[in-house]
């Protein structure tokens, strides 16, 4: 995810339940099927069962479903949770103190 860029996630599977995911092999299969006009049943067959679990808990980055938001493209570092919370909080306080920088 830290190498992902703008446009690397997409809202797909709109015929089933819309889901935003990062574009990997699983997404390519879905996209090819949708381009050929796949039915809901065909898409369900591609999705299978526990696809998100495969991606997010079992680490199958290409065949699993990776539910990642657009803002993932802004993330560049892998940090401990405490540091992330601290940085968000510090950033919030700085922005609150000086919300608009006039140039």
């Amino acid at each position: 995810m830290i190498n992902s860029n703008e446009g690397d996630t997409i809202l797909t599977l709109k015929q089933l339940t819309p889901v935003r995911l990062i574009k990997n092999n699983f997404y390519k299969q879905v996209q090819e099927a949708e381009n050929k006009g796949a039915s809901v049943e065909e898409l369900k067959a591609i999705l299978g069962r526990a696809r998100a679990k495969k991606g997010m808990f079992e680490g199958q980055l290409e065949e699993g479903e990776l539910e990642i938001g657009q803002v993932g493209a802004n993330v560049r570092d892998i940090l401990p949770a405490a540091k992330i919370v601290d940085e968000v909080w510090q950033g919030f306080k700085e922005a609150l103190a000086n919300p608009i920088k006039m140039i």
């Binding site: 995810m1 995911l21 990642i68 993932g72 802004n74 570092d77 940090l79 992330i84 968000v88 510090q90």
Partner: protein, 110 residues
């Protein structure tokens, strides 16, 4: 409508992506909602409403607390959400950087 969890004293927070469903959640007795915009990862609304548009609409539509989600990963984005009338925040995207996924899950359930 009746939410069985409420009878057991459990706090219920519903994830929604439109004002329409948000009102239904409030009428059903939910304690709060997570309003998740088009930018968010995972399951999303058919209306494709962005966080910037969804949040003010939802805040106007209901009286229960609204938790913003979708596109919020920094303090500046958090402040922007607060300016739109929010009371709580969901930091899922920022926490995706974390090395400990369990923490993400716990925080998602808050």
């Amino acid at each position: 409508m009746d939410i069985c969890f409420k009878r057991k004293g459990i706090t219920v927070v519903h994830v929604i992506s439109s004002s329409k469903v948000c009102k239904k959640a409030e009428e059903a007795g939910c304690d709060a909602v997570v309003a998740e915009g088009f930018e968010a990862g995972g399951h999303n609304g058919r209306e494709e409403t962005t966080t910037m548009v969804l949040i003010p609409a939802v805040v106007n539509a209901v009286k229960i607390p609204v938790i913003a989600a979708g596109g919020i990963a920094t303090g500046k984005q958090m402040l922007a959400a607060m300016v739109m009338g929010l009371r709580v925040y969901k930091w899922v995207a920022a926490l995706l950087q974390a090395k400990k996924p369990l923490l993400i899950l716990i925080l998602r359930m808050l």
